[in-house]
């Protein structure tokens, strides 16, 4: 895989910054500034960001996408970098562990049975993991 960006859109994004003060991460996380990523992409240094924690600080909350006049947004750039980071097995351990749980169980957590009895809740519904194994035999374990 390789990193290909819409450079004209990245350039407009770097010059605009209209979403900055609506971005929850920009407001709270010191140093979080995806414009720096955009500038590096334009300078041909996208790969430098594949191991940088900043790409994982984008919450995918879609606020910037809603604000973006060209419907491109910081999120598009950072999600593309996340995907490439995953493909090169550079993602944070917590991300990889969650994925492992999903491909093993088809869920991100197993139902707790004791509290269900306490609240008089019915038995949890049967899982569809067998179907997913059939659809994706090479991915699901």
């Amino acid at each position: 895989m390789s990193l290909v960006f819409d450079l004209a859109a990245v350039k407009r994004c770097v010059e605009c910054r209209g979403c900055e003060y609506d971005c929850p991460s920009f407001k709270v996380i010191e140093g979080y500034n995806p414009t720096l990523v955009g500038q590096d992409i334009l300078a041909g240094r996208a790969e430098d960001w594949l191991t940088h924690q900043m790409i994982w600080q984008c919450l995918e909350c879609h606020t910037c996408t809603e604000r973006c006049p060209q419907k491109y947004s910081w999120e598009t750039i950072l999600t593309q970098l996340k995907k490439e980071s995953i493909a090169r097995q550079l993602a944070p351990e917590a991300v990889t562990k969650a994925w492992e749980m999903f491909i093993k169980t088809s869920r991100l957590g197993e139902p707790r049975l004791a509290p269900r009895k306490k609240y008089g809740l019915p038995e949890p519904s049967a899982s569809g993991v067998a179907d997913l194994r059939r659809l994706f035999p090479d991915v699901m374990k």
């Binding site: 909350c61 879609h62 606020t63 088809s106 269900r116 569809g128 991915v139």
Partner: protein, 304 residues
């Protein structure tokens, strides 16, 4: 199709079974035709699974919606993540027939197909848009009058708006209207649209998540709201389960967290002890004391 399949997702059954209790109570009181359906998997979580394998994300989501469609049911989910995925895929496949055909070719061996007949609704969307505020108000026995509540709809209840098609993505109002229908005041606040930050914990950055959640909880503590209300287990987890961690670090935060189902159940007359509110990490007794005063006053007033 009039009936509903309940799509709980992973987090509620794994961490917060009491959320099921209050939502089922509310749906029963509202005479909603619902059932549990076998065969659902994780929705699957968009920010995780789609980034690993977009085709798997799309087909797994399409399969979940198709299961409801085959049973002649719509879907209600009380989770923003599940809503984002299931409604997102429904919007996409309803818009792009080529993609729907591709999904259906893959689903055919499972005797499933997506025709776009099943509606996917978040609980808030169901209550506000399908049922309507009038039917909510009609069931209120103890209006939450005098209660000052902060509403946290969360990101994926309304965004991305080009797929969710539910409420204004920047100034949503429907969750607030529900709170008002229960008799409470929705208190405006500057951090209203701020994300809970749950994603940060999921990528191993819990400290940053605490900082982000702390900003909102500090503001709400200063405003002296009676509670923060949520409609998503992830947001609930961050503001309720993580709040004691902030308190341990010395943050002056103290905000009871209640889900919309818990609020509605209380207003509809369900006894607080039936709802599992003691399983919240943040003590809800300040809220309940005020609510008890409302109940006593109304009980005396109406001779109940």
């Amino acid at each position: 199709m009039n009936g509903y399949a309940l799509f709980w997702g992973c987090t509620i059954p794994a961490r917060f079974p009491f959320m099921e209790k209050s939502m089922r109570s509310v749906l029963n009181i509202l005479d909603v035709d619902y059932q549990d359906l076998d065969g659902f998997t994780c929705c699957p979580e968009k920010s995780l699974v789609k980034n690993f394998n977009p085709a798997l994300w799309e087909l797994t989501a399409a399969r979940n919606v198709s299961l409801a469609e085959r049973a002649g049911l719509n879907i209600i989910t009380p989770c923003n993540g599940c809503y984002g995925t299931l409604k997102g895929i429904s919007s996409r496949l309803r818009t792009f027939p080529v993609e729907a055909n591709r999904a259906n070719e893959a689903l055919a061996p499972l005797d499933l197909a997506f025709h776009g007949r099943a509606r996917v609704e978040h609980l808030i969307e169901f209550l506000h848009d399908q049922l309507g505020l009038g039917k909510i108000r009609a069931k209120v026995v103890f209006p939450l009058r005098g209660m000052r509540l902060a509403v946290h709809g969360g990101c994926h209840l309304v965004r991305p708006s080009n797929a969710i098609h539910f409420d204004d993505p920047i100034k949503p109002a429907k969750f607030d209207a529900l709170v008002a229908a229960l008799g409470a005041e929705s208190v405006d606040h500057s951090t209203k649209l701020t994300c809970c930050g749950g994603y940060l914990s999921r990528v191993g950055m819990q400290e940053l998540n605490l900082t982000m959640a702390g900003e909102k909880l500090k503001e709400l503590t200063e405003l002296g709201v009676d509670a923060l209300t949520t409609c998503c287990p992830e947001c609930f987890k961050i503001f309720d389960s993580f709040q004691p961690l902030l308190q341990k670090k010395g943050a002056e935060v103290s905000v009871p967290i209640l889900t919309i189902s818990e609020l509605a159940a209380l207003a509809f007359g369900v006894a607080p002890e039936e709802l599992g509110l003691k399983d919240h990490r943040v003590d809800v007794s300040p809220f309940l004391q005020k609510f008890e005063a409302i109940r006593r006053e109304l009980t005396d007033e109406l001779g109940l």
